[in-house]
């Protein structure tokens, strides 16, 4: 197409895009137009005055054609030109930035690796592209993967980089060439960028400096046949023995719809195995796989699909993720306002759970309390906690059937802060004194809850509705409500459980809340929200609006474990992710050896108020066993945040223990892990990302090429306007398109005359 354009219009489109139009004829434009008008008027008069057997419409057509012909002729006489800025040969530099990552070695459909183009086009000085570029520019070569550096030429490329950070590489090349006249950068890559920083951030300096980027996309857009596993998200930490329900996205191209096994393993031990039915070409399918982790400590989980015959890329069949399995015993405070069966059965469900300590404060009579599973004689001796320090010792709070008026306003505010500031979990259970029936409307806790409470109806009879409970689609994807059933049988398991009752009619969720269980019943005006949750500040809040879920224990057969499983998973979920006073994190859980990363720690005191004057130390244990202490410094812009830049010097697993203290008093500590190892990231999303490369070119004023169109690149850079340039005028009057147009107009008039018998 571009060749046809160039044939007709003499120059390629980029010349028209870069230049501006002007007329080169001497004299005033007005005089030329006057002359053209006179000639045109004569022509029109000639046709108008002539008679014979012509009709007016014939004369009008022929006059029009003749006027058009005259117009084209006058346009040519006006000497139209394109004014463009073209680079001065050998006065400018061009940076050639070449992708040096592993994905460049992937074979295309023709069996040749992507890097073959680099060798062919740039590998020798005799190659046409190098020759054309060298004639006009001084060339500088750069390589990049996760980092970038200057190289002498393509022969220095090893194609062993484990990441592709395009934006950073372009900016680094711009900076290195900032002292010389730079006409542009040529990026040769498959576009498989996997940087964590947004690309826009790195393009802005290029735009500001006016450096166009000409991108050359190599490789097939689609890798086929192949199966690829999408990124797997795991929580940062989980309690030992908890069940995880992980969604794994699997995409196939060219493999056909078939069933493949998905294996979850850790330390060569298979945790779970599921069959995955692959979708149509390019259509991802989600496989939901449940598994349990029962060994405390840092754990690396591997998800993999065995390599199928004929796959182009084998490395993208597996994903790894790290998480911390916690062996701690998490304390949950359960405040129950009246003796009722619910408490007994919840306690019983979690009593064998070594990671949950359910501390109970049971009000048995006005002013009389029963404390259960407390650690010391003094714990809760004064009743419900009155200070933040006392309440924040717990990871979660369960409110049973207890009226809001039992608590002081400070205690109610403290409960809301417990969720929003401390990051704890709050669960309110259904009951006669819960939700609206317990006067919780208008309290600070109301907005924490994920449900909307309506004022209770006045009437002689207490509301009581029998309901059957079923999981919502969101519930089916949540580990807390799986009841230990296989993924496809969760709904059936819920259906097998007996009906329960509620005295709290609740049918509306707060914006942003998620419903996991819903209830239906004849006595209900609308479906009951049975279990819902929402994030609130740093923590989360749950509402379970039934009052006798213990029927799920008493009515099913003795061996049925649904009730126990439900409560164990619910309690574990409630404390899942609840932060400590010191929360350490690392920017990436896996980096390459020598790749810098950042360790951060959020530090607060026992009331979870951010601390800016703490002494925070990271004890880093290297894979070889060396231990070094390094201080983290306060990030002035953010309260309570401390940071440390760290570069692993050896491959393997780093353990980082972060400890914080203030005035000799220990605030807390945390343990994180960092893995320094080569990454397989390059093999995921390995198809050429044309859109990304086009976007880079568009946003910087360059153009996108493929190996088949790259031959015009040297000419295009010449007219980009960057670097040392000359302004030149290029004639347009002799464009073949103009002559062709004149010929066609004359032919049209002659043809018209012939058809009308006027010739």
């Amino acid at each position: 197409m571009h060749r046809l354009f160039e044939l007709l219009f003499k120059y390629r489109p980029i010349v028209f895009e870069q230049g501006h139009f002007a007329l080169g004829a001497p004299g005033a434009l007005r005089a030329w137009l006057l002359g053209a008008g006179v000639v045109g008027a004569v022509a029109v008069a000639t046709y108008t005055l002539a008679r014979g057997k012509t009709r007016p419409v014939d004369r009008a057509v022929m006059a029009g054609l003749r006027l058009a012909l005259l117009g084209v002729l006058v346009f040519c006489l006006l000497q139209p030109v394109l004014v463009i800025s073209s680079v001065v040969p050998q006065q400018n530099f061009v940076g050639i930035v070449i992708d040096d990552s592993k994905s460049m070695e992937l074979p295309d459909a023709d069996g040749r690796p992507r890097s073959a183009f680099v060798q062919d086009a740039l590998g020798s000085e005799q190659s046409k592209l190098i020759e054309d570029l060298s004639e006009r520019f001084t060339l500088r070569f750069f390589r990049f993967s996760s980092s970038s550096s200057r190289i002498d030429g393509p022969s220095d490329l090893a194609y062993d980089g484990t990441h592709t950070h395009i934006g950073a590489a372009l900016d680094a090349a711009r900076q290195e060439l900032s002292g010389v006249p730079l006409s542009g950068l040529i990026l040769i890559s498959d576009g498989a960028d996997n940087a964590t920083t947004p690309l826009t951030r790195d393009l802005v300096p290029l735009q500001a400096a006016g450096v166009p980027v000409f991108t050359v996309g190599v490789g097939d857009e689609s890798v086929s046949p192949d199966i690829e596993m999408g990124r797997v998200e795991l929580p940062r930490s989980i309690l030992e023995g908890s069940e995880l329900l992980v969604d794994v996205v699997v995409t196939q191209t060219g493999m056909g719809r078939r069933s493949v096994p998905l294996i979850v393993e850790s330390d060569d031990r298979i945790l779970a195995q599921e069959q995955v039915e692959l979708g149509p070409d390019g259509q991802p399918v989600v496989a939901r796989v449940p598994f349990q982790l029962d060994k405390a400590g840092p754990t690396r989980i591997r998800f993999r699909i065995p390599v199928q015959e004929g796959e182009r890329v084998e490395q993208n069949n597996a994903r790894e993720a790290q998480l911390q399995v916690l062996g701690e015993r998490e304390k949950i405070l359960y405040m129950e306002g009246e003796p009722r069966h619910e408490l007994k059965f919840i306690r019983r469900a979690v009593e064998d759970d070594q990671n949950i300590q359910l501390v109970v404060l049971q009000r048995t009579a006005p002013g009389k309390f029963l404390r259960l599973d407390v650690d010391s004689a003094s714990e809760l001796v004064g009743g419900f906690p009155r200070t933040r320090e006392e309440l924040y010792r717990y990871r979660a709070l369960v409110l049973g059937s207890i009226e809001a008026s039992f608590f002081s306003h400070d205690q109610l505010q403290m409960m809301a802060d417990f969720v929003s500031q401390r990051g704890g979990g709050l669960l309110m259970l259904g009951g006669r004194h819960a939700f609206a029936e317990g006067g919780w409307i208008g309290t600070p806790v109301e907005e924490v809850l994920p449900v909307v409470m309506e004022p209770p109806q006045d009437g002689p009879d207490e509301f009581l509705a029998e309901i059957r409970v079923a999981p919502t689609p969101a519930g089916l994807a949540n580990a807390a409500v799986q009841l230990g059933a296989p993924p496809g049988e969760v709904a059936a398991r819920w259906d097998s459980l007996p009906a329960v009752t509620t005295v709290n009619p609740i049918s509306e969720l707060r914006p942003g809340a998620t419903e996991l269980l819903k209830g239906t019943g004849e006595a209900l005006a609308a479906d009951q929200v049975v279990l819902a949750h929402q994030r609130y500040g740093r923590g989360k809040a749950l509402a379970l609006t039934v009052q006798d879920d213990w029927l799920w224990q008493m009515i099913p057969p003795v061996e049925d474990q649904s009730h126990e499983t439900f409560w164990r998973q619910l309690m574990r979920w409630l404390v899942d992710g609840v932060p400590n006073e010191v929360r350490a994190a690392v920017a990436q859980e896996q980096v390459e050896q020598g790749e810098p990363t950042r360790v951060t720690a959020q530090v607060s005191d026992s009331a979870f108020i951010d601390v800016n004057d703490a002494t925070v130390t990271a004890r880093i244990t290297t894979p070889s066993g060396m231990v070094e202490d390094t201080a983290l410094t306060w990030v002035v812009q953010r309260d309570g945040e401390y940071g440390l830049d760290f570069t692993p010097s050896e491959e393997g697993e780093y353990r980082i223990d972060v400890a914080a203290e203030r005035d000799g008093h220990v605030l807390g500590n945390d343990e994180i892990h960092l893995r320094a190892a080569p990454s397989d990231e390059e093999y995921f999303g390995a198809g050429r990302r044309t859109q990304l490369l086009e976007r880079i070119a568009d946003e910087t004023g360059g153009r996108f090429y493929t190996p088949t169109t790259v031959s015009t690149l040297p000419d295009d850079i010449s007219v980009t306007g960057a670097g040392v340039t000359l302004t030149e005028e290029r004639d347009l009057w002799d464009m073949p398109a103009l002559f062709l147009l004149m010929f066609m107009l004359m032919a049209a008039e002659w043809g018209y005359r012939r058809s009308k018998g006027l010739a």
């Binding site: 009246e338 009722r340 069966h341 007994k344 048995t364 009579a365 029963l370 009752t501 029927l551 003795v558």
Partner: protein, 295 residues
């Protein structure tokens, strides 16, 4: 009527003491666990009509010569209900023992005054807040029993559950139900009950519970030995059956041997028993119920 009853009780007390003297006191192991059932005294399970002469037809109750009527069960509302277990009795054992002069089956003794009074006391002393009529009568093979995880059974000296009743009670206890057994005396009845109960939970061990057990401190702190039995000067003991026979696990059943706290509930407010002793009977009951609701 009351003098007759007192005389009958005194007579029974005397007979019971004589019987015990003849057999010697029930041996206790070092752990307070009862020995196994006396195989020689194994009794044949015989069925009697479940309903006997009892009919459920409106609120009320009767004694001696009257046909006892049962109040209708209160509708389920997820709250605590006092549930009395109606059971099949061994007619040989019911006819072989003193008849007490009543026509009603043994499981119904003290009904319904005992539960009515106990519910009132629970309303007054705790936040349990049961309704006045929240008392039911159920059999252990009735699926409805699973909706009431605390139940009461009395006069178990003739208890002879059918296979369905035994299975029902087995499931009830293992799922989380709690059974209060009350109002029986004498080693013969105890051994019979232990033996019969092992048809429900084979190998169940009856472990003696003393003052230090949590159940006696769940609401009132009481010394169970200070609860004087209405039978007169006897040596009441309290046995527990735990899940998997492990005292660190859940207590599924408590057995008031040689005691009858239901008797105190029934006659409280009449002056028949001293207030202090009656109060102890209530305290024990409240402790049992609070414990059952929290453990």
């Amino acid at each position: 009527m009351r003098p007759i009853r007192v005389l009958a009780i005194l007579l029974l007390l005397a007979l019971g003491s004589i019987g015990e003297m003849a057999r010697g006191p029930l041996a206790r192991t070092a752990e307070g666990v009862l020995p196994g059932p006396p195989g020689a005294r194994a009794l044949m399970a015989q069925q009697i009509p479940r309903r006997g002469r009892v009919q459920q037809r409106g609120r009320g109750g009767g004694r001696r010569g009257q046909q006892m009527t049962l109040d209708p069960n209160a509708p389920y509302d997820a709250r605590f209900h006092f549930v009395r277990i109606r059971y099949t009795a061994d007619p040989n054992r019911t006819t072989g023992r003193p008849s007490y002069g009543w026509d009603d089956p043994m499981w119904i003794h003290d009904y319904p005054r005992a539960e009515r009074n106990l519910l009132k006391i629970l309303q007054e002393t705790t936040l349990l807040a049961p309704g006045d009529d929240d008392y039911d009568v159920l059999t252990t093979d009735d699926p409805e029993l699973m909706r009431y995880p605390v139940a009461y059974m009395c006069e178990v000296g003739a208890w002879n559950p059918s296979p369905a009743e035994a299975t029902g009670l087995h499931d009830y206890l293992l799922k989380g139900g709690f059974l209060i057994v009350d109002d029986f005396r004498g080693e013969r009845d105890l051994q019979y009950f232990v033996h019969t109960f092992r048809r429900v939970i084979p190998g169940a061990q009856f472990m003696q519970l003393g003052k230090g057990h949590e159940i006696f401190d769940s609401f009132f702190e009481i010394d169970p030995d200070s609860v004087i039995p209405p039978y007169g000067p006897r040596d009441p003991r309290y046995y527990g059956v735990f899940e998997d026979n492990d005292p660190s696990k859940r207590l599924m059943m408590i057995v008031n041997y040689d005691n009858d706290i239901g008797e105190y509930w029934e006659w409280s407010g009449t002056g028949f028993y001293p207030i202090d002793i009656t109060n102890e009977g209530y305290k024990v009951a409240i402790d049992y119920i609070i414990y059952a609701l929290t453990h």
